[in-house]
Each structure stands twice: as C-alpha cells, then as structure tokens.
Amino acid sequence: MSDVSEAPPISLIDKSLGLNEQKLLDMYSVIWRIRWFEEKVLDLFRAGVIRGTAHLYSGMEAVATGACAALRPTDYVTSTHRGHGHALAKGLEPDRMLAEIIGRADGYCKGKGGSMHVASAKHGMLGADAIVGGNTPIAVGAALGARILGRDDVVLCFFGDGAANQGVLFESMNLASVLKLPVIFLCENNLWALSTPTSVSLSVPDVAARGAAFNMPGVVLDGQDVLAVYEGARAAVERGRAGQGPSLLECKTYRIHSHSAFATREVRPEEEVAYWRARDPIRILGERLEQAGVASSTTLEVIKAREERRIAEAAEFALASPTPDAAEAYTDVLVDAASDEHVVGRTAG
C-alpha cells in the first residue's frame, strides 16, 4: 500500500538533535502555557467576554510545541483558525494574545483581527487564517519570497484534516515541490472537521500518503508525543534548508473540546474522547522527563504553576486593556508608501 514511514523512537538528551535539558523544560513550559491559555479562553467565552467563538487547541499542544521548537526565530509559521497553540509556540506573548482575542487595543492586531487572525510580524507568525486551507499557498509564497531575498528561512505550514481535502492545498504542495521550496506541510489530523469525521471525508487512511503524489516525503507522527513531533519536524526543516524541498508531516492528534467554544454539544463517541483524553501530551512528556531523570515531579509542578500564574497575569493585562479608538476602524485598509521598508520576522531571537 502506501509507503508512509514512521519516525523512529529517539533518546531524550541527544545533542545531535539539538536537545538539552533547558530545551526540554521549555517544551514542557510551552505545553502548559497553551493548556492554561485555552482554558482561560474558554472561561472568558463562557463569561461573555469573548464574542463570536474560539477554536481551542487543548489536547493538541504537543504538535505546535514540538514543531515550532525545530524552527529558528527567523523562520515563518502560517496558521489556521485553531491557531492559539501555534502562536504561543512561536513565541507570541499570552498577554497581548488574550488582549487581541477579546478585542482590545493592546492586542497584537489592535483588536482588529481577533482569535482567527492573531499574527505577529516580528515573530514571523504570518497569521491565523479563517479560510480552511487558505494559509497553505501563503506558506509557499513566504518560502519563495525568502529565496528571492537571498535568505534560507523555512516555513512551517499548519493545516488540519479538514484542509487536507481542499484543492488549494494540493496546488500548494505541487507548487512547493516543483519549485523545491522549504515548506513543512504539517497536517494536524484530529480526526474531526467540525462534525465530520475523517472516516467519511478522507479517501485514504493517512494524509501523509499524499506526500508521494507531490514527490515529497510523507511521515506519520504521534502528535501526542512532543519529542516525536520535534524529531519529525527537525528532519523536515533540515531537508528544506539543505535545498531538498518540501515535506509533509501528519501528526495524529485530538482536540479535547468540541470544534469551537460556541458549539457546546459533543458529537464524537464517548469512548473515543476518553481514549484520547488519556493520551495527554502533558502526561506523556512529563513521564518521559521524569524517567530520563531530566526533571523531578517537583520541577514539573513548579513549571505548571508558573505557567498558570503567567496566564492569570495575561488575563489581568488583557481585561485592563482599553477598547480600540473608534478611528481605528478606518486605519490599515490601505497603507501608505512612506513607511514601506518594513521587514517581517527578523526578530533578534
């Protein structure tokens, strides 16, 4: 059948993989940061502070964390409507993110983008995107633009099992392949697109099988194991930076909550949800860190508490942030030539 490879198990402290104690603890911190952040978002939605809806990343934290850990600060990310995890893993600050999600002036986008359009130019986070699959050609373009400008930045392109059937994704994969661009197409297959399971929508068992159709490797990864994701992403990044072109990674994962905060009714089978709840990325990483002697349970508890505090402070910041000036409704529609010479994503690291 399909020649889809699985990533081999890796040892924890592996200098050749760029892993050290600090990096591992950073990963653990980021996973908790995302977990606490999304719970806070849910609270704020239920309290009526967040309008519209929010698409929570809870349960999928290892994917964003592991993948973004393989990037340089100057590499780019294009994201989806379920992008809070991607943003936090790329280094965006929880306080300005929450301010953005609740529509306040101190948000990254001055309150004008909201949850589905969070972005940070200086972090190279080119935006959450509310058009399913819409970010995929943009990722190709970002890599193309970097090449034109003489840089070797790679682009991490998140998309879900829903986007896996959008024609624009296939166009983008083909274009990245013929142009040999360093794009990491990362499918977060959480088995459900809103209320439609992959069992009825996806014509193949693994999205990764579609890599071969576009002449790129397609790798299935355990999306609940941050280190498996990290290793798979790192290999794809190296491949891209070495001029070998794009890669397709498929992270098998699951969201704990329903598709969006607005949709409270659970449509998925109880046993399935329970199975995946038990495969908690926090527990999986924590156990590995303890077993390898990298961290004690105390250290892990300290990290958990620190991140909880950080998110609580972020919420205070966001709630204290003023609403945007009415005049801002009319700014940034067109930009003027005067301040044209901006450069995206060149953060000092």
Partner: protein
C-alpha cells in the same frame, strides 16, 4: 527633454516590467507561460533572459496557489508581480486576493503588508466567448483593501504599471487584450503615472463622458465625431478605478451638468453604477439630466461576432448615448 516615441500597449507594459525588475531586486514575476515565450502577447518578453529563472518563472496551472504564493512572498518583503493568463480566471484566485491580500494589513493591525500586483489581459471583443471575455473589475472594486487599475493608452499602461509595482498595497491591474497592439506616444526615460488620478483627455462643455478600458479607447474616437456634430464632450479616462478620482469627475459634472459613465463590465452591479452613485451624491443639484451608463449587456458574452457586438460596448453605443442625452436636454431647454 527626451523624445516621446510611438509604441504599443504590450511594448509599454514590457518596458515597465524591465525597468522595475532592474530597479528593485526584490521584484519578481511569475505566472503561466510568461517566461520563455514572453507570454501570449509579448508583455513579459526578454525578462527571463535578462533577470534569470529565480525572478522570472513559469508556474503550473494553479491560480489559487499562484495568487496565494504572491501574498506570502509579499508578506516577507519581496515584491511579486503575478500574471493571470486571462482575467476571467480571477475567480479561481479570488479567495487569496479578496480574503487574504486585501485583508491581511487590516486584520493584523497594520503589522503585515501585501505589496503585490495581480495583472493580466481581459480578452473581451475577439470572439473568445463567455469564459474568456469578462471584465470583472466590479468584483474587486467591491473589496476594501485593494486598488484597481485599468489603463487604456500605452503611456498610461507603462506609467501606471510602474506605480502599481512600487505601491505597497495589493493591486489588481486590468489590461485589455484588444488594446495590446494600440500604439501611442510614450515618453522616453523615467516617468510614473500616479494611481488614483483620472485624466481629462478632452475638455468640453456639453456633457461629461467618464470611461475606462476599451470603452475609453472607443470614446476617444467617438468624441471627435461628436465634435463634428457640434457636441462638445468632456472625456475623462478614469485610469484608476479604485481609489476613484472623485474630485476630477465631480468638478467636471458640476461644469457640464450631464454625465455618461461607460464601462466594459456587465451592466447590473457593474462599476459604472458605483460611479453613478458617487456622482448622484456629489453633483445632484448641478445635473440637467439623469446620469446614464453604457455597459455590456446582462448576458454571458457570445461567440458569434454580430452577437458579441450586440452585447458589448461599441463606439456606436457611445455615440448614441451622448446624442440622446444632449439632444433630449436641448429639446427640454428650448
């Protein structure tokens, strides 16, 4: 002062591309069949040989990905020019243009910019029929965050394309295939035509004729005929559809008291309606007659030449519209 020379619109566009790719190394151009053959009409000829395959290349037939790649490249600081082979295919690229390029600066609170040009020929009027003949500016004029340009002379084509390439906003640049071979005086040496400025091609006192694209080209001949009939038409070529040069058209209609808007797109919901609405808002007290429009009929465009002429904007339809308006008002005035 360097001599102007007579070149075609296709040649003028080609010069603009050569000059801008030379001037700014961040600029590059891609699309279907643009590289080795220089495009279907020579607009991109010579670019590949001069600037190389990294900056000038052919793509697969993938309009969504092509347009989206232009967006991504612009976001990271490059200056992409992307060709849509026939502008009817805008429909395929529209999500990236309307939902992404047009909105990213706003959605990100000004953090991200999308300096790109989507350009290509509108193939109206040569018998290519319904899916290869549409002038779809109404679709993109409607979306906030885009500029929309439509030249009708070689000098304007070159100067506007250069300005569009240097502009930091996403721009949809409509060329007209029927006009690619039209020749006109183009200044030698460096020059730009600013976006957002209409041109009063011919001053007049009896009626203002506001046109763009092929309609503007036909109008240039029509106003000479009308002059011989004693009708003094003030002809305005909009050149940029969005932002619309409201100041120029309002001043003109306040002067003449009569306005006709001529546009290549379909009538209903077409761009002419937008210009008319603006004029009604700004010049109502100065009007001696209701504003009229001349546009393509509300039908898909047929293949047979006589049917095509039936539905498209023709010089005769422009003449008739002006004569009726001026004749009617003169009859009333007597």
């Amino acid at each position: 002062m360097t001599e102007a020379r007579s070149i075609s619109i296709a040649e003028a566009l080609n010069e603009a591309l050569h000059e801008e790719l030379e001037r700014d190394p961040r600029t590059f151009i891609f699309g279907e069949d643009i590289a080795d053959t220089g495009g279907l009409f020579g607009v991109t000829s010579g670019l590949r040989d001069r600037f190389g395959p990294t900056r000038v290349f052919n793509t697969p037939i993938s309009e969504q990905a092509i347009a989206g790649a232009a967006v991504g490249a612009a976001l990271v600081g490059a200056r992409p020019i992307v060709e849509i082979q026939v502008m009817d295919f805008l429909s395929l690229a529209l999500d990236q243009i309307a939902n992404h390029a047009a909105k990213l600066p706003y959605m990100t609170g000004g953090q991200l910019r999308v300096p790109l040009v989507v350009r290509g020929p509108v193939a109206t009027g040569i018998g290519l029929a319904a899916q290869h003949s549409q002038s779809l500016e109404a679709w993109v004029v409607h979306i906030p965050g885009l500029k929309v340009v439509m030249p009708s002379t070689p000098a304007d084509a070159k100067g506007l394309l250069k300005s569009a390439i240097r502009d930091p906003n996403p721009i949809v640049f409509f060329e007209k295939r029927l006009l690619y071979s039209i020749r006109g005086k183009v200044p030698a040496g460096e020059y730009l035509v600013p976006l957002g400025k209409a041109e009063v091609c011919r001053p007049g006192r009896d009626v203002t004729l506001i046109a763009s694209g092929i309609a503007a080209h036909h109008a240039r001949a029509a106003v000479q005929k009308l002059e011989a009939e004693g009708i003094d038409v003030e002809l305005i070529d909009l050149r940029t559809l969005k932002p619309l040069d409201v100041e120029t058209i309002v001043a003109s209609v306040k002067k003449t008291g009569r306005a006709i808007v001529a546009n290549d797109g379909y009538r209903t919901g077409g761009f002419a309606a937008e210009v008319m609405a603006t004029l009604i808002e700004e010049t109502f007290d100065f009007l001696d007659a209701p504003i009229q429009r001349v546009a393509a009929a509300d039908t898909p465009i047929p293949c047979a030449q006589n049917l095509e002429s039936e539905v498209l904007v023709t010089p005769d339809k422009l003449l008739q519209a002006v004569r009726e308006m001026v004749g009617a008002s003169r009859a009333v005035a007597v």
